[in-house]
Amino acid sequence: MSAISFQQVEKTYGSGVHALRGVSFDVQPGEFFGLLGPNGAGKTSLISVLAGLARATRGKVTVMGHDVVDDYAQARRALGIVPQELVFDPFFSVRETLRIQSGYFGVRDNDAWIDELLASLGLADKANANMRQLSGGMKRRVLVAQALVHRPPVIVLDEPTAGVDVELRQTLWQFIARLNREGHTVLLTTHYLEEAEALCQRIAMLKQGRVVALERTSELLAGTATTMLRFKTDHALPASLVARARVTGRFAQVSARDAGDVEAVLAQLREAGVPVEDLEIGRSDLEDVFLDIMTTEGAQRQGARQ
């Protein structure tokens, strides 16, 4: 039995937006699974359908074998959702918030687990603080704790590290990785591809409501194993390189097929009189793969693999 199963899920909103166009994939129990895609690709729609916040126009979704519509109570008991928006109830303290949330799931006398959550997420000294008094990062931690009060076997994190400082990211990932080792299934959406690369065993990429890649992270990286030339420069790149380069500020990356190609690129830079600093040669990372799939061959790629 899959932890999560999406079968031919379609979603068209009342406004006519066709957010999901037949999404199918399964997440296995114990997996750390990444769901990637640009803004508007349908990630949040897919998670909303999973959580019961939205209803699929067509198709079927199950959590631990429970249909999210017909057997919603069991499905939701199995699911812990960390929402993307930083929302909170200003009437309550952190501990009250967590007790109330436990109650909704029928969990009573949950203080031992609540204390453990607070300690693991670095919230112990904020237990009695009102939600309004917390910083954004602290509120984010409470959101994570809230999703876990009923010890769900499946955890869904929707952009949990958006706008979050380094310390919280470390705390959060240590904690989530521990839960994953203990057997929890994790579904993660993120814009930070290095996080997905480091954490996720398998990755699905969405583009315009369709799955355009679904592979083990290692295979995804191996599949487009090109060499990347990375350097910094304050000068404009020569025209011959602009098309194949990715530039972020003064940081440039140019893909190269092999050692000879690397030499050719360097020669062009020299000819154009572009001085480079901090030159390094490495393998392409998930960001390169992601851009490759999203910009060029997304549709063909999926077609070829099915």
Partner: protein
């Protein structure tokens, strides 16, 4: 699903909804009590000598049950509607939407907390105003029945309004253009017998009239219509709005897209 399971599911949400208004009780309980006392002082003084409604009942005595019931109704409505709209606008309703709570549990919790708020405010108004002119207690059972049923009806209407409204001003419009006129034209401040015949008939089409008339019967033992008639009208109205509220919750109206 058995009734017991629905009830035990509703309990944590009911507790939270009660805690929510109780934490700001200065604003949700004390303020409406003060408002009602103002009405009593102003209208009591302005009209006290001139209006007599029932034999042996002064105008101020007549006014008190009306004010109590008006406070019950308005606060019951305000509780469920403002809680829902706040949760929708701030987005924290998501914490409830991801839980296994059934539509019936939502209904019981929101309506139940509205009844509690309505009854607490009503009791407060009664205690404070009775000090000015004790209105008498002919039949407390009617008082309790109409108080609770009226609060339930308005809590349910508030639930519907809270589900429907997407902004605070839509809710305010609902409150100002529907709830307020219906309350004021229901006989809070006067007996509908003193109205011209046309308005007399119109008043009888207003379910709020029956809530207040039946409630008042509990104090004086006399009323414009039989309390049984009022009970039937209010009961039927409650069943109707409950049916609508449950249907909206089941369909996920404006909650699950």
């Amino acid at each position: 699903m058995s009734a017991m399971r629905v009830l035990s599911g509703a309990r944590p949400l009911l507790r939270k909804e009660i805690l929510r208004f109780w934490k700001v009780s200065f604003q949700t309980v004390a303020a409406p009590v003060l408002t009602a006392v103002m009405y009593l002082l102003v209208f009591g003084h302005a009209l006290g000598g001139r209006v007599s409604v029932y034999d042996g009942v002064s105008y101020v005595q007549f006014l008190i049950p009306g004010l109590v019931m008006m406070s019950v109704l308005q606060n019951a409505f305000a509780n469920s509607s403002s809680s829902l709209i706040q949760s929708k606008i701030t987005g924290n309703l998501v914490f409830l939407l991801v839980t296994p709570l059934s539509p019936a549990a939502w209904f019981i919790a929101y309506t139940g907390a509205a009844i509690v708020r309505g009854v607490v405010v009503g009791a407060g108004v009664m205690v404070v105003t009775a000090w000015f002119a004790p209105p008498g207690l002919a039949n407390p059972l009617w008082i309790v029945s109409f108080g609770v049923l009226g609060a339930a009806m308005m809590g349910t209407l508030g639930l519907i309004a809270g589900l429907w409204a997407e902004k605070f001003d839509q809710l305010a419009a609902f409150q100002n253009f529907i709830i307020m006129p219906m309350t004021f034209l229901s006989g809070v401040f006067y007996s509908v017998h003193s109205l011209p015949p046309v308005w007399h008939v119109v008043s009888h089409l207003n379910p709020f009239f029956y809530m207040i008339d039946g409630f008042r019967h509990g104090f004086f033992g006399v009323s414009d219509v039989s309390p049984w008639t009022s009970l039937a009208v209010v009961g039927a109205s409650f069943v109707l709005v409950s049916g609508i509220a449950l249907a909206l919750l089941r369909s996920g109206y404006k909650l699950r897209h």
